[in-house]
Point group: C2
Chain length 425, copies 2
């Protein structure tokens, strides 16, 4: 076997624009309309402007327009909606990592010399089907021969990972719920989030609903008491309760990727992609461990090596928290914390909060910002782009020079992982 | 607007292995099993051998496993079936051009410096659904808002293109049927073809069936008389009769793509990718012409410019003949013949036959070899790889030094086009 070679790009690649649609349940919007909304936001983010005619190619991450709209060829449909024809248009799919993959492919497209300016992003209209159909469509991201066909859906697959963590390390459900509390506290500051509400906001809403209906008003002492009230936070697949799970979200995101040598034509503060890794894995029954995602560890190692940095150098990270356990795994797989209780309790102990040692998911994460699966990876990059340029509004991380940041995006239950590292020079 | 820049790769890219599964109706085979069959054929084609552990990434074209198997994440499923985990695995989708796109992305992955060895290909298991479901699933490649939702399916969309050609140029149905006759005559020599039969073979089969059943034996004087017999060649969507249409095929193909500087480690006769182009287009109602595919013209121009060659330099071509009219459009869009009757009658006049001026679809084409949509582009390259290396068996093109060849792969009804040029040095 060849020695694993340090990945190195033929030329540098920069992000000079990034935008996302509002996230939420948006029954009035089709897949292409969501993408067009993100596209316009991206255009508005380019400091020195961009003529759309200069965009040479379009790579769109999307997971299930086949299910939601009976539509394949999503990328050319998005090219039509954004007026980008005859630019080359293609779709990438790797379940929930589809748009990180799109960005990675765009990076290689520019680094290869084939293109100077590429639009990459993702779009997903998920709320068009009845709930149980949606659950089954999403389950298509698992191994349908070994997993979904025998009854596994994603809350169950991640519940298996959570149970393994609890058994191995003594992790508690409260540890996991603290991840949700933190991410809702971040998302409450994000006007584009699916749920721009802290858990306290949710509690107030529930109380007001009870008052309006003339019913007994619940009297929880704190968030944890509310989250342990099964009437308001029912079990989905133990230990995943409703508030351990991300929502089903409609949304899109778009990223403008250009060659390093022309980046300053678009902005004085480009964000450079300096590290990128991707790896795959098998179905859950075929793995050697359930307390980490080996694909994420390999992708992280590749990204760190390519960037020539270590986990300690990363200032903030957006990680894949489709379920609370996923963030507990992520912060260990990325080397921020030790696998086990240290990682699982990082949120509870404030280490990953906005003013913590390493702020994680300051956008609100998938849990609160929302998880339009094919758009999620690109939307993580939108947050990183805004934070690194000091333009994240109320949720801007303060007292920190964010010169290096990271995104961690998982496909399915770790059958794909993409980790990327960004630099502001 | 920036001037259109001549595309140039950061480093050269070569194909050193190529294999395909048997094409046909294969109800016993899943999407991943088809891909594994092609993978083994690819392994066997590498002259000096390849250790699968040296394959760093896997890009799989696939159009509709969501429909056929409720499966997303197809690439990681194929990585599992071929033992390629933890290699990075991703799916590309652009309707029927999905695997040409996969190969193109692999080319950029290698040219970018990120990878040295990538497996690209495609797989499609299409025959698992009832016929009308299949027709609707395929129609998902059109614009579902403007086309399939108002009743258009692909035989109809291409019929519209054929009718426009007839009205504009006086093209006859016989001109189109001669394309089918030529491609079946080629495919009869291809043991992996869905229909390894000439039209004469089909006529004999029909006669024998009549004899066995004790029915009157039809007495056609030639192929054209048979093809005009609506009992045996019914109209699907005029002027597309059954024999104007490609079949619904299960199949897969796999291509091994490496950096130029290590190509000779795998074979003494690598095939270099020297030109590549891709463009997109809008739905049919939104085009300025119906007698050519503008996306194909642009992709061809890009590929020729990148390779620094002209249509006259190309020795053989595999082109996208999902319907007979598609080949008539292709040979004009590629600049081999003039748009109109010259292009439409090239097959009838023997100019594109195995011993013609430029042999087109010596594999049998989509029409006869079969069209497993996500695998078709890669399968075209398998044919080119074998022909350029003189290993195409009975259908090897003779008396010609095939130093330059071309593939032309269309997504949907020209909403995507990929044209690539290959060189043997």
């Amino acid at each position: 076997m060849m020695a694993e070679r340090r990945k190195k790009l033929g030329r540098g690649v920069a992000i000079v624009g990034a935008g996302m649609s509002n996230f939420g349940t948006r029954p009035d919007m089709t897949t292409r309309e969501l993408f067009a909304e993100a596209f316009v936001e991206m255009l508005n983010s380019v400091d020195k402007g961009i003529n759309p005619k200069d965009i040479e190619a379009l790579i769109v991450g999307n997971t299930g327009a086949e299910f939601w709209e009976s539509q394949t060829s999503v990328a050319v449909i998005c090219a039509d909606a954004t007026g980008l024809n005859p630019a080359a248009a293609l779709k990438t799919e790797d379940a929930c990592a589809s748009s990180s993959v799109a960005v990675r492919q765009a990076m290689m497209g520019v680094a290869s010399g084939m293109y100077d300016v590429i639009l990459a992003g993702g779009t997903e209209r998920m709320s068009s089907l009845p709930g149980d159909w949606t659950t089954m469509a999403i389950a298509g991201g698992s191994d349908t021969t070994y997993e979904s066909s025998v009854g596994f859906t994603f809350p169950g697959l991640y519940a298996a990972l959570a149970r393994a963590h609890m058994e191995t390390y003594g992790t508690t459900h409260a540890d996991l719920l603290n991840i949700a509390i933190k991410n809702h506290s971040n998302g409450a500051l994000n006007p584009k989030a699916h749920f721009p509400s802290s858990i306290k906001d949710v509690m107030d809403m529930r109380k007001n609903q009870a008052i309006k209906k003339g019913k007994p008003v619940p009297n929880w002492n704190d968030e944890m008491e509310f989250l342990n009230d099964q009437k308001y936070n029912p079990i989905i697949a133990w230990p995943n309760t409703l508030f351990d799970c991300c929502p089903v979200t409609d949304g899109a995101a778009a990223i403008l990727i250009v060659a390093e040598d022309i980046a300053k034509d678009f902005t004085d503060t480009p964000i450079y992609i300096v590290g990128s890794g991707q790896a795959s894995d098998r179905a859950l029954h075929d793995r050697e461990t359930l307390t980490s995602l080996p694909s994420a560890r390999m992708a992280a190692r590749q990204a760190y090596e390519m960037a020539g940095v270590t986990p300690k150098d990363i200032k903030i990270a957006e990680v894949h928290d489709c379920f609370t356990i996923a963030e507990a795994l992520a912060v260990a797989d990325l080397g921020f914390f030790e696998e086990g209780l240290e990682a699982a309790r990082a949120a509870a102990e404030g280490k990953t909060s906005r003013d913590g040692r390493i702020p994680v998911n300051v956008s609100g994460g998938l849990k609160c910002k929302g998880h339009p699966v094919g758009a999620t990876g690109a939307a993580q990059i939108v947050e990183i782009f805004e934070q690194m340029r000091g333009k994240a509004g109320d949720r801007q991380v303060k007292n920190m020079d964010i010169d290096l940041a990271l995104t961690h995006n998982i496909g399915a239950h770790g059958t794909t992982a993409v980790v990327q590292i960004y630099e502001r020079r």
